[in-house]
């Protein structure tokens, strides 16, 4: 009986995670090169029910839902022309690589700048790497040739903030670097808003289920003993 309570609660918790993730997507609807996340829900292990007196099996019952993992949706977003000489976008597969204090990170956000040493850097000041893995120098005229930027493939990418992605290197990417353009955020605001509404209602349904079960238990607790007494 009370397992139903926990199943309903697990559904509500999963929707909470989904709402958090959708809010984050929506907040990043203007972040260049941002890749939205998709939550993958999965069920907990099923229980096998058996008749306690005869030992005969009744069947299985699932015990609720959890968000197993968040998957980054790496679909190409439209490229937007900005006309800025240090804005770059990748059309096709691959990532820019930047050298951070904690090792090489990957990004699709090509809104770059330069530092005092004349190197091409990302917004946090981390040097952008060429295909050979070396920092790239900005010319005296403040420009960088698109062919100077390295395009890398990476596996198991996951967001880590600052538009950077962690991942394991997997050779050269096939994408083409475009100068003076930025890849827009991959978030579709309409889809995200719709998902939020759907998630909200699923959450509400979970609450209703909880209350129904609660009501049933209340009936058990109050009516059954009084029946016995009459």
């Amino acid at each position: 009986m009370d397992s139903g309570l926990y199943i309903a609660a697990s559904g509500m918790l999963a929707e909470q995670v989904r709402q958090n993730q959708l809010s984050n997507d929506l907040a990043n609807s203007s972040t260049p090169g941002y890749k939205p996340q998709e939550g993958q829900q999965q069920s907990f292990g099923a229980l096998l029910l058996a008749n306690t007196s005869t030992g005969q099996t009744v069947g299985t019952i699932d015990t609720g839902v959890t968000v197993g993992k968040l998957v980054t949706d790496t679909t190409q977003a439209p490229l937007q022309s900005t006309g800025q000489p240090l804005d770059f976008a990748i059309g096709g597969q691959g990532y820019f690589a930047v050298r951070t204090a904690a090792g090489v990170s990957y990004t699709r956000d090509g809104q770059f700048s330069s530092n005092a040493a004349g190197q091409l850097t990302d917004a946090q000041g981390d040097p952008v790497l060429s295909q050979a893995g070396a920092p790239i120098l900005v010319s005296a005229k403040g420009t960088v040739s698109a062919s100077a930027l390295g395009v890398f493939n990476a596996n198991n990418v996951a967001q880590k903030g600052g538009t950077l992605l962690s991942g394991t290197a997997a050779g050269r990417g096939t994408g083409v670097v475009h100068q003076g353009e930025l890849e827009q955020s991959g978030v579709d605001p309409i889809q995200t808003m719709t998902d939020m509404i759907a998630s909200l209602r699923a959450y509400q349904a979970g609450q209703s289920a909880l209350q129904s079960i609660d009501q049933t238990m209340q009936e058990d607790a109050t009516s059954v003993p009084s029946l016995g007494g009459s």
């Binding site: 697990s10 509500m12 918790l13 999963a14 929707e15 909470q16 995670v17 709402q19 958090n20 993730q21 959708l22 809010s23 984050n24 929506l26 907040a27 990043n28 609807s29 203007s30 972040t31 260049p32 941002y34 996340q37 939550g39 839902v65 959890t66 968000v67 197993g68 993992k69 968040l70 006309g83 800025q84 000489p85 956000d109 809104q111 700048s113 330069s114 530092n115 005092a116 040493a117 004349g118 917004a123 946090q124 000041g125 900005v138 005296a140 005229k141 403040g142 967001q159 880590k160 903030g161 600052g162 538009t163 605001p189 808003m193 939020m196 909200l200 959450y203 609450q207 909880l210 209350q211």
Partner: protein, 244 residues
Amino acid sequence: MLQGLYAAASGMEATQTQFDAISNDIANLSTPGYQSEEVGFADLLYSGGGSSAGSSVATGSGTVATVIGRNQEQGAIDQTGDPLDVAISGDGYLAVRRNDGSTGLTRNGALQVDSLGQLTNQDGNVVVPPITLPKGVQPGQVSIAANGDVTTAGRKLGKITLVTVPAPDQLQPDGHGTFSVTSGSGATRAAAGATLQQGAVEGSNVDLSEAMNTMVTAERAYQMAGQAIQYQDQMLQIANGIKK
């Protein structure tokens, strides 16, 4: 639970920064040599869900906006006919010495002559290196060549040198159209390929149609983030409603 609430709020805050930058740009639509502000967005750190459902799942905590520098695009060259107006074409700045002795960089080339005959910018800061007009020489008799040579009747008075820095995005804006060199921007050096044009000023490089476009987009983003906060609020209300 509350993380999503704050993620949505961070989206509103970031959009607010973008609004501020656009408003400033539009206000400076007619400021000579003004370079529009560039706003960049970045996602914030990702952390574990914290609840039993999806504790192995890292959700983000929103977004942040930063002004990442100035638009380096060339502004339109406006003819003024004033002999002491110079427009810079290409990547470079005029250097001026401010009253406190520090050096300022500016793209506003509307120059003037002070009581000592020295060339100054509109705020009275002397151009570096200083150029003095001899007594009796009127501004109309001064000619300024594309390479910065200042002459009057064939006599050389000095040279306006254009400078730039390795990282113009890191220059610190000080108002009045001047910028200060910082450790992030690197030291000044001669500007390669920048030339001067006498009798003209560089107009603001703010693109009004683009600014308006960004404003509309930002407004919608702001609205949607506000809506997201309402959904989160509704969820909290539902959670509170479990106990009747």
